[in-house]
């Protein structure tokens, strides 16, 4: 076999053994730097609320396929769809309501409402789990209590916006399985995990560098 293209496991182990202190030192230093950086990062909390998808709640067909006219289920669904709820909650009207209610322009230290809404949009995630019939609303914030409050405020807005926009005659369309409660643990930074990952990454990078820089490879 051509030696330039192949390397044996014995050679790989030999390279590691010869450079082990360098590799381990680099990995350790990287982990320490990660720890310092992680400690300096602000804490973020994620609050989550779970709703029943309206389609699931009314026992109608779940969202139809994007295949359009060929889908035999098109038009089978009744009432308001989860995607409409998602669109409504992600609208400027909704974001503006939340931003004003919690004075987020001041909290996020933004000059205008437009930028505030952009940040809020980035920190709000709404997922539709078609296969389980759930809708999840997640809000990220530096304050756990505020994260939960914003999350629950979104839920309260679903019915409000429904009557304002006259989307459906049903008064209560939000069937809540779990309201958001203030998260006890921060979602980021995860210091130990970050350290472990950075240690392993630095190890792999340093090790591969020595393997590739060896004459035989």
């Amino acid at each position: 076999m051509n030696n330039e293209e192949f390397i044996s496991f014995k050679e790989i182990i030999g390279i590691f053994w010869a450079k082990k202190w360098w590799i381990l030192s680099i990995s350790f230093i990287t982990a320490v730097i990660t720890m310092i950086v992680s400690f300096s990062l602000p804490k973020t909390y994620t609050a989550e609320a779970i709703l029943l998808m309206p389609e699931a709640a009314t026992s109608s067909t779940l969202i139809s396929s994007p295949l359009g006219i060929l889908s035999p289920k098109l038009g089978a669904g009744q009432g308001l769809s989860s995607q409409v709820i998602k669109a409504v909650l992600g609208s400027k009207r909704s974001l503006s309501n939340v931003a004003k209610q919690f004075n987020l322009q001041k909290v996020y230290k933004k000059e205008d409402m437009g930028n505030t809404m952009l940040v809020l949009k980035e920190r709000t995630k709404i997922g539709i789990f078609n296969l389980t019939g759930e809708m999840k609303i997640q809000v990220l914030d530096r304050d756990p209590q505020r994260a939960a409050d914003i999350c629950n405020y979104y839920i309260s807005m679903i019915d409000t916006l429904n009557s304002q926009l006259r989307l459906t005659s049903t008064k209560e369309i939000a069937k809540v399985l779990d309201y958001a409660s203030p998260p006890k643990n921060k979602s980021s930074p995860r210091i130990k995990l970050n350290m472990l990952v950075s240690f392993l990454l630095a190890f792999v990078i340093a090790f591969s560098y020595y393997v590739f820089s060896s004459k035989k490879y």
């Binding site: 044996s8 969202i63 139809s64 994007p66 295949l67 995607q83 296969l131 472990l196």
Partner: protein, 503 residues
């Protein structure tokens, strides 16, 4: 130091097989799992006790057949055969079984060769780096680390298959036998596809003809698309597209009549089966991959080509063949390529939107290997994930970028580039015979074909991954044959011993 199979090895091996099947049997999740086990066991007992053909051929055939054997896989409520056992549940597939048993056979019969010759090819080293990197990153980023682990197992096994293939095929004769084995299997697969096309055999060999009620299956049922033993026509088309360029180039440049006829037969059958699958990107990819193969020969190894007249006649036959098939299937192809092409564009564009949004939000580290489907449900900017949560983006590059981030994607690209650079470099080697040249060039053509298809699909993340790495093993094996052997490996009696035991 000659190598002979000792009877104690046979007994130990048989006990191991019995134990392993005893453990794996309850884990296998398809209806006729017992028949697969019996099939494998029958092969092994035959090999160990009566085999006149050699252990390496059995290992080789088993590794090639493993990914082709049908099995079922359940993704939540949907049955999706082409998910390939990646998530969310761990499924011991026939491929895993084939790999595991191959390793056992290697340890029993090729222990000395492994200890001397077991070397890692550079592109595979990069692939393993990619696997390790993706896993480490996923510890931090993945929503579902189990899914990452399952994909990691698949990727490791794919690399293992590649290593075993190039370790086994260390001479031109073995390479030739290997291609004949692949040719026979493709002939059988194509024959099954014809029978399925004309409704003599069911399209699903495990569960028979089934027509689902879901909208996606409803659309797919408009066309009758044979899948061979693979149960999924696109996967079957991808398998064919991987190997067709090799057989095309072999049937053009070989001079020996019997071989030429056989490879031409395989090519014809495979091309017909490919057209019957109606796999759009596979058909286009195969044609482009074959052109790449011919271009590579034209640029790097003109001296290996037969006369211009011969090439023109050979290529003319293929063009006429494609034209006849195209003419016969014109209406179906038109419907499939044009009408349904437009129909599925919207869905794919929506998936690309989601992938680009995910990449924008997770540019450096990604969302975790094999976690795309989980992550996009919460970041579903286009709404497609709510309607088809089980389908990732139909672009392999966007998929890897969004899952492993910038650095992971760069590693993946490095892997691809390293395969091509090494392949092309080896085309300039002296002492390269026609057969080996055809395998390297055709292999690169097949590789390019699947990479082109990956622009519009994510097939490499299915069972095709194993076939792709099998092909990579063949390309590397081809390189071995073109390189001068190092005396210490050929003169220490090991080669002689192995050739004696596996003649």
């Amino acid at each position: 130091m000659s190598f002979q199979v000792k009877s104690i090895n046979k007994i130990v091996f048989l006990i191991l097989i019995a134990l392993c099947t005893g453990i794996f049997l309850p884990l296998l999740e398809f209806k006729y799992s017992i028949s697969i086990i019996i099939f494998f066991l029958a092969i092994f007992i035959f090999v160990l006790l009566f085999s006149p053909i050699g252990v390496w051929k059995i290992i080789f055939a088993m590794l090639f057949l493993g990914p082709l054997l049908p099995y079922s896989y359940y993704f939540n409520k949907f049955m999706e055969p082409h998910f390939g056992g990646a998530s969310p549940y761990f499924v011991i597939t026939p491929t895993y079984m084939a790999f595991f048993l191959s390793v056992l056979l290697l340890v029993v019969f090729y222990k000395k060769k492994i200890s001397v010759d077991f070397k890692l090819e550079k592109s595979l080293f990069i692939w393993i780096l990619f696997i390790v990197y993706s896993f480490i990153i996923s510890i931090r980023t993945a929503t579902n680390l189990n899914a990452t682990f399952y994909e990691l197992v698949r990727m490791v096994i794919a690399a293992g298959i590649s290593i075993i293939v190039y370790l086994l095929i260390d001479s031109k004769e073995k390479l030739k036998s290997a291609l004949i084995i692949i040719g026979i299997v493709l002939l059988i697969e194509s024959a099954i596809a014809f029978l399925q096309e004309f409704a003599i055999l069911p399209r699903d060999l495990l569960f028979g003809e089934t027509i689902g009620t879901s909208s996606i299956i409803y659309v797919a049922e408009i066309f009758r698309r044979p899948a061979g033993t693979l149960r999924e026509p696109n996967t079957f088309a991808k398998l064919l597209s991987l190997f067709i360029p090799i057989f095309l180039i072999l049937s053009v440049i070989l001079k020996e009549r019997k071989e030429k006829l056989f490879f031409f037969l395989v090519l014809t059958f495979s091309m017909l089966a490919l057209f019957m699958t109606l796999g759009r990107s596979a058909i286009v990819g195969t044609i482009l991959g074959s052109f790449l193969g011919f271009s590579l020969i034209g640029i790097f190894a003109k001296e290996h080509l037969p006369s211009k007249k011969f090439i023109i006649s050979g290529v003319s036959v293929v063009v006429v063949l494609i034209a006849v098939i195209g003419g016969l299937l014109f209406q179906v192809l038109y419907l499939r390529f044009i009408v349904f092409g437009y129909l599925t564009v919207a869905g794919r564009v929506a998936q690309y939107q989601n992938a680009l949004y995910t990449i924008k939000n997770h540019f450096l580290w990604g969302v975790g290997l094999n976690n795309y489907c989980y992550a996009t449900v919460m970041e579903d900017i286009s709404g497609i994930a709510a309607t088809n949560p089980e389908f990732p983006v139909h672009n392999l590059y966007l998929l890897y970028f969004s899952e492993t981030g910038l650095f992971g994607f760069m590693l993946f690209l490095s892997f691809i580039i390293s395969v091509f650079i090494r392949g092309i470099k080896n085309l300039t080697l002296p002492d390269l015979d026609n057969f080996t040249l055809a395998v390297i060039v055709g292999g690169l053509g097949g590789f390019a074909s699947i990479l082109l298809q990956s622009l519009l699909g994510w097939g490499v993340r299915s069972i095709t991954l194993f076939s792709l790495f099998f092909l990579l093993g063949l390309i590397v094996a081809g390189k071995n044959n073109g390189v001068q052997k190092i005396p210490q490996y050929t003169n220490n009696g090991i080669e002689e011993g192995i050739s004696h035991s596996t003649k």
